[in-house]
């Protein structure tokens, strides 16, 4: 009989559930995709229900339920933090404590009660893992490596902010750690906050902003904020940070250090924010490289697995990849806290079932990270017919040819195929696609489709076998977690000059390469390498586009508008299609063109319902 283990992460941000069957992830999803609340921290009731339904089981069939962190250890850290925060943290402490005393202290009991409310059978009593152990398990167990160094870097777990593990077969051994309040994730978040973006979601905006700036504040950061040691460890100078008191990340001391106030959210972005972003990015890359080097030294392994929120910093990942210090790098696609649900389940499951994917010829155990809900042709047809939305149905070959043809004509296509991705990136299951060669595509997508800040770059999806023709990439990047420079051969003439391309904020729409829509101002791109194993329909589409145009690269961005979780169901995809200026929607084998669609009337303006991220 199959051994099923359910993992749960919840009550901070990005709640999620994951189901592992005989050591293999079979279903996983973030709660936000069901509730439509971005980064939803609530108990992941719908994600759990989905996981059970995906395998046709009930809670009775579970061998174990594992919660992703240890609430008591977390509580001790919270108390200790407030103790060191001084009188300034009193109000936040008094407001926060009742919730801790009522249920957070004993969150496992609360989880048991919530599972009972689901009325899907009797679950085993929930047990706790540890935050960084969950990250490490999510990073190592599904990886292609039998043995590896495992590095987890995030904001904060219970106490640990950074851990090094030695992954050996079906075991994970903690080798070393750096603990709260010293955290490179919190340092990055502090600068995110200072630059006027939201903590825990705006970090990737700061990363996107960095190439527009010069790292002129990097020395100040090294001198004042962080002490980086030769052994890879680091500490933060706590006199500049206010997160101990729980209310805000930084305050007057930070403002004084950088000579200006915290930027107001949504106010115009200046060159100063770009330079701050470039500076913190540079220092982060140095820290991450030092930590990864320490991980290799302390474990004796040259294969590296990464997880934790900082592992989503694909620019730093690219630096690691190009450093030559590692034989190979594998990064958990759900590297943030959502992935802890998977790690918590895997940590239990692997002890009983081992790591079956290592015996086969799969590149990893993540199934392309396509672990979310899928919708069959019948369900999609029913939705379209019920609502009388005009469509054309194609067979397989016809579908790819038709969509490739529309993309080549310059259309922006909503691409909804198969099971939804687990993790923050759209990987060709819930994606908006466009022609990367089109110089207007970046502007069109930012302003007419995503309604987001114009400085934000788009990522390319490329056939894995052709990636080297366009990008100087050292290894596969199936989960869009590596940034690589574009090759000289596709750079524009100006980009090839010694002075390089213009990099100021106003230069976003300059043509820097033959793939202007995905070439960032520093001539880099956040690459997704696509294979048939990871995502067959997307591979066929890219091949079809290549046959038609000679180019095997498409712009791939998530199927949502700014502030909205990525779409999950066909009706959400249709709503997003109609709310934006997308030209074509592909739902499975059904193709919908914008002209001819009935007027899309909503009772409430969606812009007022979706808060900006």
């Amino acid at each position: 009989m199959a051994i099923y283990v359910l993992g749960i992460s919840a009550f901070y941000h990005d709640s999620a559930a994951a189901l592992v069957k005989d050591g293999v992830p079979v279903a996983a999803a973030q709660e936000e995709r069901f509730t439509r609340v971005r980064h939803d921290p609530a108990f992941p009731a719908q994600a759990i229900a989905y996981c059970l339904d995906a395998e046709g089981i009930t809670l009775d069939d579970l061998e174990a339920v594992v919660y992703y962190e240890d609430p008591q250890e977390k509580f001790s850290r919270v108390i200790s933090s407030f103790a060191s925060g001084g009188i300034g943290g009193a109000r936040t402490f008094i407001n926060a404590m009742p919730e801790w005393i009522r249920w957070k202290w004993n969150v496992l009991k609360f989880v048991d009660e919530q599972l009972e409310i689901l009325s899907r059978g009797k679950a085993p009593r929930t047990q706790a893992s540890q935050h960084h152990r969950s990250h490490a398990a999510a990073a190592f167990y599904p990886s292609p490596f039998k043995n590896a160094a495992v590095l987890c870097i995030d904001g904060i777990g219970e106490w640990h902010s950074t851990t090094i593990w030695h992954g050996k077969g079906s075991n994970l051994e903690l080798k070393n750690s750096i603990s709260y309040p010293h955290s490179v994730g919190l340092l990055y978040s502090a600068m995110t906050y200072y630059c006027g973006f939201k903590v825990d979601s705006g970090e990737y905006k700061l990363m996107g902003l960095a190439p527009y700036g010069q790292p002129i504040y990097a020395d100040k950061i090294r001198d004042e904020l962080i002490n980086i040691r030769e052994d890879g460890s680091f500490t933060l100078n706590m006199k500049y940070f206010e997160y101990l008191r729980g209310e805000r990340m930084v305050g007057e001391a930070f403002e004084e250090l950088f000579g200006g106030p915290i930027r107001q959210p949504e106010s115009p972005i200046s060159q100063r924010e770009c330079d701050l972003a470039a500076s913190i990015q540079k220092v982060t890359e140095e820290v991450v490289l030092g930590l990864a080097t320490a991980a290799v030294k302390q474990t004796g392994e040259r294969n590296l697995c990464l997880a934790g929120g900082v592992a989503l910093n694909c620019v730093a990942n690219g630096v690691l990849s190009r450093s030559g210090r590692f034989d190979s790098i594998w990064i958990q696609p759900a590297a943030g806290d959502a992935g802890c649900a998977l790690g918590a389940a895997l940590d239990f499951a692997v002890k009983h079932s081992g790591r079956p994917h290592l015996d086969g010829n799969k590149s990893d155990a993540m199934s392309g990270s396509l672990l979310g809900p899928g919708f069959g042709d019948e369900e999609i047809a029913q939705f379209l017919l019920e609502n009388q939305y005009p469509f054309t149905r194609y067979d397989d070959a016809g579908l790819y040819d038709q969509v490739a043809s529309r993309l080549a004509e310059g259309a922006v296509v909503g691409w909804f195929q198969g099971r939804m991705e687990f993790g923050p990136r759209a990987l060709g299951a819930r994606s908006i696609l466009g022609d990367a060669r089109n110089p207007e595509m970046q502007r069109t997508m930012n302003l007419k489709i995503k309604y987001r800040e114009s400085f934000r770059p788009f990522a390319p999806a490329v056939l894995a076998e052709d990636a080297g023709n366009y990008f100087d990439i050292c290894e596969k990047s199936p989960y869009m977690l590596m940034v690589a420079p574009v090759t000289d051969s596709i750079k524009s003439q100006q980009s090839r000059q010694e002075s390089g391309p213009e990099r100021g904020l106003g230069s976003i729409n300059n043509i820097r390469s033959q793939l202007p829509a995905v070439t960032h101002v520093d001539l880099s791109a956040r690459v997704q390498t696509v294979t048939e194993e990871n995502n067959a329909p997307f591979t066929y589409l890219l091949r079809s586009f290549k046959e038609r145009t000679g180019c095997s690269v498409l712009v791939n961005t998530s199927f949502n508008v700014r502030g909205e979780p990525i779409v999950c169901k066909p009706e959400e995809a249709y709503a997003c299609f109609m709310r934006t200026e997308m030209d074509v929607l592909v739902l499975g084998r059904y193709v919908l063109e914008r002209p001819g669609q009935p007027a899309f009337v909503e009772a409430v303006d969606w812009r007022s319902e979706i808060p900006l991220d």
Binding site: G85, P98, N176, N237
Partner: protein, 47 residues
């Protein structure tokens, strides 16, 4: 009631701990730790 308990806890327990830490620089939150030769929780040499 819980808020009052939290207030008492803050005054009676947390503040004295915080004061002790800041006077003696005796915790990982203090300046001395920031200047220590390593920040690893376990000595690297012993590994």
């Amino acid at each position: 009631m819980l808020r009052f308990l939290a207030f008492l806890m803050f005054i009676v327990v947390l503040l004295p701990i915080g004061l002790t830490r800041s006077v003696f620089h005796s915790s990982r939150f203090g300046r001395r730790f920031h200047q220590a030769p390593t920040a690893w929780d376990h000595s690297v040499n012993k590994l």
